[in-house]
Amino acid sequence: MDPHAFVSPVEAKAIEYLIAVAYLVLFVPFWRYLDGGTARARAAVRARVPARPPAGWFVVPDGISFHPGHTWARVDGEGLATVGADEFAFKLVAPERMVLPPTGDEVRQGEPAWLFGADGHDVALLAPVSGTVTELNTEALRAPEAAARDPYGRGWLMKVRAPRLAADRKQLLDGPVARRWIEAVTEALRARAGAPAALALEDGGAPVDGLARAVDGPEWPAVAREFLLS
């Protein structure tokens, strides 16, 4: 058979009209099906991502620049920075101990710099800036729970001589951008399957210590590493 042989135009046109009519007839229910779901779809999306966390869950102070791995840096002077872990990281892990690099060690932005340990597991946190460790907060090392109560003040962890501080800070988040970021991260944690109802409450209560354990039980180190990007 010659595949390009003459085709009866009457037959072909009849079928084409039938297809056109079928399209128009089916388009109406198809559109109604699709459009009927608009409100439902929006509700479904919003239901999966819980409402915004109560204001003040996590504080984002001015003058602090955040690394997406939940560590922070504050400029103390030319080429000198104080660094620490943010409130979210402390709440997520609730560290029982902290292992910091000794003074004189080099840390690199975005690479594991120190450890938070709890329940016999360690999770690494990423350095917010690159440089040489010049001083450690021994008080915070001795009492991590006290550091957790004031993570941007007395809970600082290290002083770092950072030769490329200006360039490093361009990779960090601060101000309104940091606030939106911490909101998004909090929502992501609350939206996780298995997040207990307590986390989704909007009663304005403070989040529990050891959020990762509350969300995923024994698998908490994996959850913590996911959020701490380590």
């Binding site: 390009h4 072909a12 779901g37 779809a41 999306v45 951008v177 998004a184 929502e187």
Partner: protein, 405 residues
């Protein structure tokens, strides 16, 4: 002099090396993924060099019967279709005023620009006399050829996409004033881009109208230009859905922090549009089948493959898009988008390779070298996208400061 040199070094360190020294940068990019990519690119560039020294016959299975192979079927036809997100999203936001899709416009334009750029590079490999590529533009126009229109449109549209992307580059360079001037051109460029895309996306289908006896009757249709245009919009929307999901994951540190729900809502909106388009596209394809009247061909092996394409990669993603958009399931919309992208690739390959010269004695099968070159171009496209996104404000869409600030 020393001062200029120091400033240049500081500039390179900050803008290109992301604040690192050359040594630190080299250490940072030394990953397994990058090593594999380097291997692919090195092998691919070697093949390309060999193609230019030894000619097309040295590396391809092309012949007088099938002068168009994988580099046209995949690099050009699929590359250009998958790059259609640029004009689709730009027209949605800048012309139709659908502001909520603004966060995905810049990555869509970048994807479009790179898609066209690498399609043209693929074309250079394919042309027997690549140095003649400027001929239709500057020297011998060949106005009677469909290629004249395609050549001009791709040339102009690549320029338009480049200009549309310049505000992002100027923001990166910190040239606020010229950046604002570039932004002022956006609406005009978008309108021009839509006109050019409509012309050449359909013209890629028109190319095959000049070879009716060579295309399998199931895929040959006088509606081919319409099929190519409509499917390019489907491909553009679907690529934006897939690419935004991947970018959101891969470039989390570069993206403006945004709740997951925002991206999900955008995805579902795009999925709804894709469902409607695919619904129309399915019936258009049926019209093409009716026009040819070759229903009996459906009972052959080619027919089975045609049905896989039509039902599995057009109708199925259409219904999945509709169901997922209605249920608010962004994950399922992404699956449907991946299926739709695959559908457009298969459709283009069916017209240009599987169903092209289907009845000649020696069927064309691309050589391993041809496949390697195509994989190399895709790899280079992804690496370029990553390089740009890691440096320029593509994902966070920071606005330029207003005049007077």
């Amino acid at each position: 002099m020393t001062d200029t040199l120091t400033r240049a070094r500081a500039w390179i360190r900050e803008k290109v090396l992301l604040g690192r020294s050359w040594r630190e940068y080299a250490r940072a990019i030394d990953t397994n993924g990058n090593r594999l990519a380097a291997l692919v690119v090195a092998a691919g560039l070697t093949v390309i060099a060999y193609r230019f020294s030894g000619g097309l016959a040295a590396v391809t299975n092309l012949s007088q019967d099938t002068p168009w192979g994988l580099w046209i079927g995949f690099d050009m036809l699929c590359g250009v279709a998958l790059a259609a997100g640029g004009y689709t999203l730009a027209s949605a936001v800048y012309i139709l005023g659908l502001e909520r899709y603004r966060p995905v416009v810049r990555p869509a334009i970048l994807t479009g620009f790179l898609g066209y750029l690498f399609a043209v590079i693929g074309l250079l490999c394919d042309l027997g006399q690549p140095w003649r590529i400027p001929y239709p533009i500057f020297y011998k126009y060949g106005v009677t050829s469909v290629m004249f229109e395609v050549g001009w449109c791709v040339f102009l549209y690549l320029t338009v996409l480049g200009l549309e992307f310049t505000p992002t580059v100027f923001e990166w360079l910190g040239w606020a004033r010229i950046g604002r001037r570039a932004k002022d051109m956006t609406l005009g460029l978008t309108a021009f881009g839509v006109v050019l895309s409509t012309l050449h996306q359909s013209s890629l289908g028109s190319l095959f109208l000049s070879a009716p006896g060579k295309v399998h009757p199931l895929w040959y249709s006088p509606f081919l230009p319409v099929f190519f245009f409509v499917s390019s919009v489907v491909a553009g929307l679907s690529m934006v859905i897939v690419e935004s999901a991947l970018s959101h994951r891969a470039f989390q540190h570069r993206a403006r922090p945004r709740p997951a729900a925002e991206l999900d809502e955008l995805t579902i909106g795009l999925g709804r549009a894709a469902a409607l388009l695919l619904f129309a596209f399915f019936f258009l394809r049926l019209q093409g089948l009716a026009e040819g009247g070759r229903w009996a061909e459906l009972a052959t092996g080619y027919g089975a493959w045609y049905l896989v394409e039509l039902l599995g990669l057009v109708l199925a993603p259409c219904l999945l898009f509709a169901r997922a958009a209605r249920a608010g399931d962004a994950g399922a919309v992404r699956v449907a988008a991946a299926l739709a992208v695959l559908g457009v690739v298969v459709q283009r390959l069916n017209v240009s390779i599987v169903g092209f010269q289907w009845n000649v004695a020696h069927r064309y099968v691309p050589s391993a070298a041809e496949v390697l070159v195509s994989v190399t171009l895709v790899t280079l496209g992804v690496l370029t996208f990553r390089w740009i996104v890691n440096r320029m404000p593509v994902l966070d869409g920071r606005p330029l400061p207003a005049a007077g600030h």
